[in-house]
């Protein structure tokens, strides 16, 4: 009898522990990824250098990763890799006409010009200069850049521009960080470089006019972007770079919730779904600004994404 009771008690304790672990895991996973720049830190900045870096030399593509083989061990993983590889090869081939149409397009110049214009009014970003250069996405390269900057902070804008898997939108994504020259490493994170004073992922997507879901093929979408020496793609990129810079200036000045808690929608805010950063999937958040058929959406984890038609 005692054995039976002990077993039941142990089972109940086990179930409770499992439930607690599960609860901790689910709430533990959901935390803000955005690091807001607080006012005292902002006021201490005496000089800044903004460096914009483009990861791709031309408009990139994205693919939906195959996961159908997930339940079939190593063979399934190999099949998934082959399927994803085949999708990527097809996307790269179909994107060629758009890249040809944009071969003389200078995305770096568009981004640099937009950042100069949008960051100039930020009075606290003193003596700021903007330059566009390639920075390898490695901790060492970033640490070296900060070390050699000669300014109090480096505003690093690591940008990527690519088509969504269906070619129905061009997404520009920037990982934006404000890095202090004097290292302020987070506890237990020694060796990973200076902890950012500000960090966020900001993206903007422009959808392709005339695209019909499940009807427009990749080839047709490619042609629509490429027509007239890439008229539509150029408009999406020019508008996207301008909007991205504007979003960066906006987000640098925005406060965050206390601690690492999630961003909660104000009672009257409208919910909206956006294309995910780097063209991957979708995400839902609340609208923080809306104009000209475009909406800026704050995700619960803090990222800022814009969605809508081509920027007017």
């Amino acid at each position: 009898m005692n054995v039976h009771r002990n077993f039941r008690s142990a089972t109940r304790a086990g179930a409770t522990s499992l439930a607690l672990v599960f609860l901790q895991m689910t709430t533990g996973c959901a935390h803000a990824k955005r690091v807001a720049l607080d006012e005292p830190q902002r006021n201490q900045i005496g000089s800044a250098r903004t460096v914009a870096s483009l990861s791709g030399q031309e408009l990139g593509v994205s693919v939906v990763m195959s996961t159908g083989g997930a339940g079939f061990g190593l063979i399934g993983a190999l099949v998934d890799s082959a399927v994803t590889n085949s999708r990527a090869k097809a996307a790269e081939a179909v994107a060629a006409p758009i890249r040809d149409a944009l071969v003389d397009y200078d995305a770096g110049a568009a981004l640099g010009g937009a950042l100069k214009k949008e960051l100039a009014p930020l009075a606290w970003l003193k003596k700021n200069t903007v330059d566009v250069r390639r920075v390898a996405d490695t901790k060492e390269a970033v640490a070296e850049l900060v070390k050699q900057s000669g300014t109090d902070v480096v505003v690093l804008v690591q940008t990527d521009h690519r088509l969504t898997p269906a070619f129905d939108a061009i997404v520009i994504t920037a990982k934006v960080s404000v890095l202090p020259r004097a290292p302020t490493q987070a506890a237990g994170d020694e060796g990973s470089g200076p902890a950012p004073l500000y960090l966020n992922t900001i993206s903007t997507a422009a959808t392709l006019p005339g695209f019909v879901e499940a009807r427009t093929t990749l080839e047709q979408a490619s042609q629509l972007w490429a027509d007239g020496r890439g008229r539509t793609a150029r408009r999406a990129l020019d508008g996207g770079m301008a909007e991205l810079a504007s979003m960066i200036a906006f987000d640098l000045a925005e406060h965050g919730p206390a601690g690492a808690s999630l961003y909660e929608a104000p009672p009257d805010a409208r919910q909206a779904t956006v294309i995910g950063a780097y063209g991957n999937g979708t995400a839902t958040g609340f609208v923080v600004r809306e104009a000209n058929g475009r909406a800026w959406v704050r995700l619960p984890t803090g990222e800022l994404s814009a969605i809508g038609g081509l920027v007017p």
């Binding site: 994803t84 090869k89 790269e92 250069r133 390898a136």
Partner: protein
């Protein structure tokens, strides 16, 4: 497994992972097509001097200009590649273009004669990665200059997409080489087509 062997395995794994992210400066000689290995395992012989086919027409290569804004060859899954010798590589490849009807020669000075001159500009040369795939791209703009000095320009894009197995230098170089060959093949066909036009046909 002994403690020593475990430490050694961990060190080897760590070294391999670090190597997978180490920046690579690619030189022109490694981008050039490798000479075929001989059957007996001996050192491969240097390429034999090229002999144009009888009746093949000369095409003069005036210049190859690198218009890329920086030497980056892109990065594949976090590993950056770069080269300042892309123009040397592509100049050599253009100079070795040969077919039964044409052969390309480096122009040594004015007065070389000939019916067609080429001026090449390198617009893009890079490798990018998406998912498990790496794609190498080479884009050249060619001015086709006729004897009367009139020129027409055309852009040629060579591309090669393949599975990225190990992120190694060899894989990336092989992909760039394939993209270069793909681009040069299009240029060869365009040269042949141009020489078949009535005003340039001999």
């Amino acid at each position: 497994m002994s403690a020593r062997r475990r430490v050694l395995s961990a060190a080897l794994c760590a070294a391999a992972l670090v190597a997978c992210r180490t920046p690579v400066e690619v030189v022109a000689s490694s981008l050039a097509a490798p000479p075929a290995a001989s059957d007996d395992g001996a050192e491969p012989a240097p390429p034999a001097p090229r002999k144009p086919a009888p009746g093949a027409q000369p095409v003069w290569l005036e210049s190859v200009e690198d218009r890329r804004t920086d030497p980056s060859l892109g990065d594949v899954h976090g590993r950056p590649f770069s080269s300042t010798q892309v123009s040397q590589w592509l100049e050599r490849e253009l100079e070795s273009l040969v077919s039964p009807t044409i052969y390309v020669m480096k122009a040594t000075g004015p007065g070389a004669g000939g019916k067609l001159w080429l001026r090449a500009r390198i617009l893009k040369a890079y490798v990018s990665g998406v998912g498990v795939t790496k794609t190498a791209t080479v884009v050249l703009e060619i001015d086709f200059v006729a004897p009367d000095g009139s020129a027409t320009s055309r852009v040629f894009r060579g591309q090669h997409a393949s599975m990225n197995w190990w992120n190694t230098e060899g894989e990336v170089i092989a992909a760039l080489r394939e993209a270069g060959s793909n681009c040069l093949e299009q240029i060869r066909l365009a040269i042949e087509a141009r020489l078949r036009t009535p005003d340039l046909r001999g």
